[in-house]
């Protein structure tokens, strides 16, 4: 129970915390004017409304981007494991046959194949071909 998800913080640790805790709180003596709070009240009224702004929306759109990039990185790692696994298998097969030339040919295919997979994992087609397409568009 000691390794809990509940964090504990001392009350007067930070000024922001203190302001948050004591603002608008406590008994008021009607007979005396509270003179000092005007500044703080103005400052915090803004801060207390949940910021629902263009900045917030773009921030969350970026958060989705980060999820996507991480997802693709995972995909990439997974496909890389397949490729390495495949290479080792093929290598072993080639050795038993003693056909080293054949193995290197296959290796070449696998490397080409892995390039394609990496490109597709990152979504943007392939870099080289993309350049070609752009040129084609410009010409037409």
């Amino acid at each position: 129970m000691s390794a809990t998800s509940l964090a504990r913080r001392p009350p007067s640790g930070s000024l922001a915390e203190v302001v948050d805790i004591i603002l608008d709180k406590g008994l008021v003596i009607d007979a005396f004017v509270r003179v000092s709070l005007v500044g703080i009240e103005l400052l915090t009224i803004d801060a207390r409304i949940v910021v629902a702004s263009v900045d917030t929306y773009l921030h969350f759109a970026e958060a989705v981007d980060r999820l996507d990039i991480r997802g693709k990185a995972d995909e990439y790692d997974a496909s890389l494991t397949d490729i390495v696994g495949g290479l080792q298998e093929k290598g072993a097969e080639a050795k038993t046959k003693g056909a080293l030339q054949g193995a290197s040919d296959r290796g070449g295919d696998l490397i080409e194949n892995s390039k394609q997979r990496i490109k597709s994992a990152f979504g943007g087609g392939s870099g080289d071909d993309g350049g070609g397409e752009d040129e084609g568009d410009d010409d037409s």
């Binding site: 998800s5 504990r8 003596i29 005396f32 509270r34 003179v35 709070l37 263009v54 999820l67």
Partner: protein
């Protein structure tokens, strides 16, 4: 000399209160009238500025007192012209009302719980539930990104009330009163203050730990306090 009034306590408690507070320059004093007393510090200014020093003094004086006895916090910035005025215009006419308020809060403290969302988990949860948001994912035109962001923000907001209610229900049997506070950041889940009997603090924290474990890692929970009952001084 003008006095800052920090809080109220019983005259009995005032007798045994240690007036010096660690980290506070001004020494505290008590003004006693009948069965009630006010905890004060002297100040040169009638216009008490909301400076760092003044805010921390107010908080620390009350925290120190709350460790020893029951205090009713006054609003920050309460300044009276002098001791006589404090008695004549407040402690004497309000004597019985102050006594009742002290009775209501006897042995009770405030515990504040602040919960925030883990961004990845929160965003993922909205994408899972909101088909439109899922469709907008991956589009890079401005309109689509704005709509996506707006839907994520709205989806997170829609979960706040449920999570707050769930947490409050989970600890309710250990608390006297509940005071929700407003949230201010997009990833804030909720902030709630609880009024808890000193004797029930351990049980309360146990229940809160359970619900915090349950809602983690989606929700991160922090416990602040125990504090003087700031949020319940005017309502209890």
């Amino acid at each position: 000399m003008p006095l800052v009034v920090h809080g109220l306590l019983s005259a009995d408690a005032a007798d045994v209160l240690d007036p010096s507070v660690e980290g506070v320059e001004a020494s505290t004093a008590v003004v006693v009238h009948g069965e009630v007393a006010a905890l004060v510090t002297a100040t040169g200014e009638v216009d008490l500025l909301p400076s760092r020093a003044n805010l921390l003094t107010h908080t620390r004086v009350l925290e120190a007192a709350a460790e020893a006895t029951t205090v009713v916090p006054m609003r920050f910035g309460t300044v009276v012209p002098d001791e006589e005025a404090l008695v004549a215009t407040y402690l004497r006419p309000e004597h019985d009302a102050i006594g009742r308020r002290l009775d209501d809060l006897t042995g009770r403290l405030e515990v504040r719980v602040r919960a925030t969302y883990d961004e990845d988990q929160a965003v993922r949860a909205v994408l899972d539930d909101d088909r439109r948001a899922a469709q907008l994912r991956g589009r890079d035109d401005f309109e689509a990104r704005m709509e996506l962001g707006e839907r994520i923000a709205a989806g997170i907001a829609a979960r706040r009330d449920d999570d707050a209610r769930y947490t409050v229900e989970a600890v309710r049997r250990h608390v006297i009163d509940v005071a929700p506070a407003t949230v201010s950041e997009p990833l804030d889940a909720f902030t709630v203050s609880f009024l808890v009997d000193r004797d029930a603090l351990t049980a309360f924290e146990g229940s809160l730990e359970q619900v915090a474990d349950e809602l983690a890692p989606r929700v991160r929970m922090e416990l602040i306090g125990p504090l003087p009952p700031f949020s319940f001084a005017a309502t209890a």
